[in-house]
Symmetry: C2
Subunit: 347 residues, 2 copies
Amino acid sequence: MPASQARPAAEPGGRSTMKDVAAAAGVGVKTVSRVVNEESGVGAATAARVREAIEALGYRRNDGARLLRQGLRTGSVGLVIEDLADPFYAPLCRAVEEVARRHGSLLFSGSSAQQPQRERDLVLAFCARRVDGLILVPTSADHSYLLPEQAAGTPIVCVDRPAAGLLTDTVLSDNARGAREGVEHLLRAGHRRIGFLGDAPEIHTAAERLRGYCAALTAAGVPTREAWVSMSAPEPARLHLALERMLTGRRPVSALLCGNNRITVAALRELAALPHRPALVGFDDFELADLLTVPVTVVAQDPARLGRTAAELLFARLSGERGPAQWIELPTRLIPRGSGELPVRHA
Amino acid sequence: MPASQARPAAEPGGRSTMKDVAAAAGVGVKTVSRVVNEESGVGAATAARVREAIEALGYRRNDGARLLRQGLRTGSVGLVIEDLADPFYAPLCRAVEEVARRHGSLLFSGSSAQQPQRERDLVLAFCARRVDGLILVPTSADHSYLLPEQAAGTPIVCVDRPAAGLLTDTVLSDNARGAREGVEHLLRAGHRRIGFLGDAPEIHTAAERLRGYCAALTAAGVPTREAWVSMSAPEPARLHLALERMLTGRRPVSALLCGNNRITVAALRELAALPHRPALVGFDDFELADLLTVPVTVVAQDPARLGRTAAELLFARLSGERGPAQWIELPTRLIPRGSGELPVRHA
DNA sequence: ATGAAAGCGCTAACAT
DNA sequence: ATGTTAGCGCTTTCAT
């Protein structure tokens, strides 16, 4: 294996500046600037000398200084999501990145890890770097700290969830309708006792999906029961308890709607051990859902489209698009694969 | 002017500066600077007036200008990976982000999408923004374009693969050994005709895993056959052909080693249709591998640890750590789940 | 305790 | 075709 060899790694040994290049080439700084920025008005011979000096010194323009002087855009946007490693947010992030790249922008990104303080720290640090705009999966309960940024002209787009106490462009899935369609699918298979495993109710998407779940049952004339609903963070221990309660009581559920990808996966793991498995519809699609022992029916969101839409909206604003804050709801898609079509077992 | 007029969404109209704040508070800029940076030497009353003005104007310090003047660190690092949405790279990225946060650094990130030009563009753009350091999953065949950056003192850490034509700190998995152990596992189950579905041979990890595959077979006195090896990008069509060739020839393989997570998933999808499935070991672990019809045995890497290790190395360099470039190989872990223990079927 | 002036690396606006 | 000067928003240095 390529073993160690001598090399001093990190030393601010020196970034040469335009002034250095100018001196080395025997020209003025403005001439170097012209060459670096490919402006016209430099003789071929001079330009060649400058380029040589640039090469020799390893010069690279300092964009920070450039942007400060120009005072326009910084060519960067900030993205704060909940968790970059979550298979739902990763494609969203990737899509934002792609749109940013097409617009010549760099991307600052960070995960809030559901901690309002972290969201705030990240957002404000990005603003201090003068990002041209922000894309945000809100976690805080209050976003009024963003008012000054908005007033200063920094466009903000919220994605997946709306901001609280702040009027911004917002892109999200039609969560209530998605949940409703998931439940209706189970109702069509004959189920009447349908449980809902949702995330913590403070989370907007979780609340919306609960709303859709209830609406579907009510519309079908099926009573809802508190014992069939669990709303909490997807910790295995809690899910285990909730499932036990729902599946073993006097009125056990025959079907489940899972509130998001993490809950679905955790639930599948719990259910795998059981002899008889309830019917199941998961919110969010996930890789290999089709290859499981019982392929999993899901209400799919399109995270990449969420990200793309949000980013395009942001750059539209940056291109001068005026008008009231937009609220865009993208449709979900029910994908039947088997688990949602399981019939009711009669004990 | 710090105009406080009603403004529409995006208008680079008004960022107030220290000067504005100073004027509003009736003090000098240096006093504002002192308050903003919590330096001592400002009277309580003055400080209060300044803070009021800051609040009223929605002032936020411009870190770009600050950093330019200070000339030290920018408090940012750049991360270029192959694809942020890939379930292997996403946790790696997340781990880097976490370490960066702990060190008070922001993260620029971008996906090279396996395109050398994109890698280069991203890296150089990050350098122009004067990131303090770079973490890179190399895609180019030649990284000599980074020599000036390195010479200027920007530490560079390569992760998952080494750079070509550049000596940098490098963190990767022991790919050859991992592949070897995967094959040995299949040999122990009695297999002698073992196929390898690898990624394109230009990719360092793919080449190393091929090497481990060959080494294991050779050590066991089992001949290798070209027809049992396929090295190419994980396109479904190509994988289909490769699998057909391996599984239906005169000497069909009885077992497969898949070269990475994407290939494993694609192969599983192909194999799902078959009546008799070969034994299979996948390189890279993936979610739900344990819940598939035949739970999948894998050679697991630890992407988060790769990222964490690389980031910690980077910040160690930034803290002045000298010494030769490091080459760190992290172990892989074989996780038997079933698919790798399937016996040889005798036709 | 406070502020005026210089300058970080660059570019806009004028010279020449 | 090329150079000079000023200034972006901030901090550093040095007065007061």
